[in-house]
Symmetry: C3
Subunit: 267 residues, 3 copies
């Protein structure tokens, strides 16, 4: 697969045109930014978590994004209802296993979600992806802190075992589907000083998967757009506060020329 | 009724002087922005939802704002306690039926809230207002997507049936009380790309209703201030991220001259 | 104790170097900003509230921050588990009794938390600190509104009774430990028009306490850094919206020269 700016921009235009409803069950910390990033990319965000309305809400959505950043029992029940309804309806599901490995509860919940209904796309940092597989991998809070090689081996394993695309994000984002791999080297170190940009990346995967049959291609597109908007934002930002703001501005205005000028991808 | 910049500014000054406590039971996505918008307009926001403290909190408030954006059973119970206590205490209540029509649960909850205690002000977009009345009206997530004429007929019906002011917001905001109608044509298209500015509008209705006996006048004032601050913000914003930030700056500094220069209202 | 820019900057560098995990059980309104402020100061924020993972999460943290801004029963149970586990593990605990005095439930909860496990640092505005002690002190929502002298007497009393540092924040921040007192006169009036900067101050106390044995010194450092970053931000902000953004930028870049140029402290 050759990754081109033209195809990424076409996908972005498809999101802007279709404005797909993306249903998010996500954590309290990032809800506002996630909704704003989905609006900025051209999608229609919905945030809802009540068990009573899960099936109805999934039924009007074109993609579902599950993020376990701030868990509790009733939310986990809603997540399970939502992923099953998404499978029944045939819409893509993105799982972001935030902080897996930090606590037993988080690890058990993420694995239960994977087993109940494998996602179309699993996106996490290296330590989260490793902790999903291996109890000996330790997560330091929600930060990335693990060796890439082992993370890639585990990503390949999980991709095959669960028939899903696995994205290991970091300075380089690896998108893995079985033996296939793509690398996106966009982004900026200051992005790690803004809370929840990983969660935003997962939400963008949902938006792109809503308009593209291949979950692999959708993830590549989402991670490239994410990284390029972040790089553009970093050129005007005075620090992490203004980066968060500029990121939304840049995402909203992103042009084919922006993508062509900055894209660093290996297919 | 003639709508003048002078009267709107006097109302704004009254909010700034009184700094009324506005109690919000609102959704997780917008809490931070809603609190900041209330501070920027000069009010004192309180966000609280525990059943155990609902009556106490309503008792220190000058207005109550109920927003059903992210529902759950215990929050609905608290909303019911709060609207009843507000009625007992005689403070104005604003209801924002976010996403009504998207799910049966949302529609039932909004109707139950209306029936338990009709609000002073009901504010939603056209599709939400229609879905409150009519099960055949469909909401696409939380976006506006309906014909204005039918929405206005339903607004008039709801206003009479529930003895409340109904605001149908959109490119033009319609404020309806029985046969009375006012139109505010301020605002900017980019505002629709920022999550929760509708929720902010509802919160501002609460702030203005706290210092003004006529719910109709309070709603006109709030929607004009909202739209004008948004227009001013759009002149300096590079996109939806910076619009959200500038909106608060402009709201905080809004002058009579700003209002006089931009007000587009029909009484 | 002589408070010097050099020592404050050394403490800031220690936070940046150690990047301590700070576990927050805080309110929905401020979660995003609190996490971003902790990242900007160099710490590693974790937000989690499920009872099932409280002990595990506290076990990977170097400080715990409890903030009662938006309460509910299950969160209070988690707070109690967390403060007990923090005591067992010997990590510092910061308590921010947001809105105490506004409702009976809030006052009872804050006192129950104090009694279950006295915090290392108690930080609130004057009315909150007084309401913790005295049922006749009234809080107007979550704003500060009380006479400083009485607040300081109560701060001294609480400091002795609970063996903790008490910070009474306001235009002047008072840091009290028994008969010891320090005053920080940094900050800017516009900071009061941004929601949750008090909550941010409490979180920074947690970050500094994670790298400094003396809770008194840690609180002095945190409040000075907070106020100075706020002053710097106010010099470039056009209002409360941009202040919130610039505050994070300034906190991220804060230099020894910035601190030396602005510090207004009495040891």
């Amino acid at each position: 697969m050759k990754i081109t700016a033209e195809e990424i921009f076409h996908a972005l235009e498809a999101v802007r045109r279709a404005s797909p409803v993306v249903h998010n069950i996500t954590n309290y910390v990032v809800m506002n930014n996630t909704a704003n990033a989905l609006l900025a990319v051209g999608a229609s965000p919905v945030m809802a978590h009540a068990e009573e309305e899960m099936e109805d809400m999934v039924n009007i959505a074109s993609a579902l994004v599950i993020n376990i950043g701030t868990l509790s029992e009733s939310w986990v029940r809603s997540m399970l209802i939502a992923v099953r309804q998404a499978a029944k309806k045939g819409i893509p599901v993105v799982l972001d296993p935030v902080g897996v490995g930090a606590t037993v509860y988080r690890t058990k919940t993420a694995r239960a979600l994977m087993d109940a209904q494998p996602p179309s796309i699993l996106r996490g940092n290296a330590s989260e992806i490793m902790a999903l597989y291996d109890d000996k991998s330790k997560t330091k809070g929600v930060d990335s802190s693990a060796s890439s090689d082992r993370a890639l081996d585990i990503a390949r394993y999980l991709s095959v075992a669960y028939h899903c695309v696995v994205c290991v994000s970091g300075a380089t984002d690896y998108i893995v589907e079985g033996e296939r791999i793509a690398k996106i080297k966009n982004g900026h170190p200051l992005m790690a000083r803004v809370t929840g940009l990983g969660c935003t990346a997962s939400a963008l995967c949902g938006a792109f998967a809503a308009v593209e049959k291949s979950a692999f291609t959708a993830t590549v597109n989402a991670m490239a757009v994410m990284g390029i908007a972040g790089e553009l934002a970093a050129t005007v930002a005075a620090g992490p506060g203004s980066l968060q703001v500029s990121f939304l501005d840049c995402l909203h205005r992103l042009s084919e020329k922006d993508i062509a000028g900055l894209l660093k991808a290996e297919g």
